[in-house]
Symmetry: C2
DNA sequence: GAGGATATTGCAGCGCCTGCAAGTTTGCAG
DNA sequence: CTGCAAACTTGCAGGCGCTGCAATATCCTC
């Protein structure tokens, strides 16, 4: 599938190099301070080529590799059968948040969000891709790709998004994975008013 | 607050005229087929002025008037005290979806989403503004602006978003308000696997 | 190698958006 | 009603994101 020789490897390399340098530059100077030309100059590739790999500048900065998305589906499928779909999805997403340090790109993206809050709105395309992947993952467990699967994915991702936002506002406080657990607890209680304050 | 004479009225008029004609034109020809210059020509105002009123073209097309946002907070506060915060928010949003025909701009915006699905990602700024308003509304009921308030708002809005998406994919099926109730039911059950299929 | 497929590049150009330095309109005092 | 200050509008010049097209370079297959 991926093995077709030199060609595909070079493509993957340029793709990776473009995203890495774009994210790394944006982290240091701010996502709006850098230009596509800059990134291309650093990688040694034509600006025109940039758009052969990414649909937009934001796609390069905030996009999620399809490999990661596929990984989510696989991991959710591999969770114990005893877990209900929402629990399985939550577990996988929590691991992803905790392992943020694993991938340097993933880590830089999180750091960029932390240091440049004004980009939050532009994460939406990526979030949407995540939501599609999570919906597929849930659907595969329930056997139905319907409103319910979509709702589960969207609600869990909402908790994840809230957690990241809260962490961003207080980076000194609990990490995103901890806040995610708290937020998810409320969701899984059916949004009932809690008697025990969350903080 | 709003009464300072002719000046403010004219501002409000231009603002409204720009948004109305922008949305109306976009509904007919597609959001990407129209240009800022076109809209300005139709309204009789300089292109430069357009950006004195709106931060971006998308802001004009998809933005939500602060009046509407304030209205949400007010309506949530006015719900019976017996309702928990999530229920109050759900009731208000359902009414908003049902009354879509009430405002012609609001109605055109919904129709535009239905006819031009490719713009969904660009609704995010508006969605975020909605989320802030809903969070504030919930916080006012619980007395705390914390992670929980944000979670309730985000989860309920996720259900709303899923409902609109599902409606868009099958305009002939149930309306967005009905789908919203179904999606919200699952959220309020804590995302437990339903025994009764949703469709 | 020859030939076909695929990637990369330069170029020209549209459209969004911004800062700046005018010009114009409105509000307010005197 | 007159003059002044503040607010709003405008044109201009220009950067940047992004795209289509045609030409070139690279890789794969036979």
């Amino acid at each position: 599938m991926t093995g077709t020789g030199l060609r595909e490897r070079k493509k993957a390399e340029t793709h990776g190099a473009l995203r890495e340098t774009a994210v790394s530059l944006a982290l240091r100077e701010g996502p709006d301070a850098i230009t596509v030309d800059q990134v291309c100059a650093a990688v040694g590739v034509s600006p025109r080529t940039f758009f052969n790999y990414f649909a937009s500048k934001d796609d390069a900065l905030f996009g999620v590799d399809t490999a990661v998305l596929d990984d989510i589906v696989t991991r959710v499928a591999a969770r114990p059968a005893a877990e209900d779909p929402a629990a399985a999805l939550v577990a996988v997403l929590r691991d992803l948040l905790t392992d943020a340090a694993g991938s340097s790109v993933w880590h830089d993206q999180l750091a960029m969000i932390r240091d440049h809050p004004e980009v939050l709105p532009r994460l939406d395309d990526a979030q949407r891709a995540l939501e599609r992947a999570c919906t597929a993952a849930v659907a595969r467990r329930t056997g139905r790709a319907d409103l319910d699967a979509h709702t589960v994915a969207a609600a869990v991702l909402a908790a994840q998004r809230v957690a990241v936002a809260a962490w961003r506002e207080d980076p000194a406080g609990p990490g995103p994975d901890v806040l995610f657990e708290r937020s998810v607890a409320l969701v899984r209680s059916g949004l009932t008013p809690s008697t025990h304050p969350s903080s």
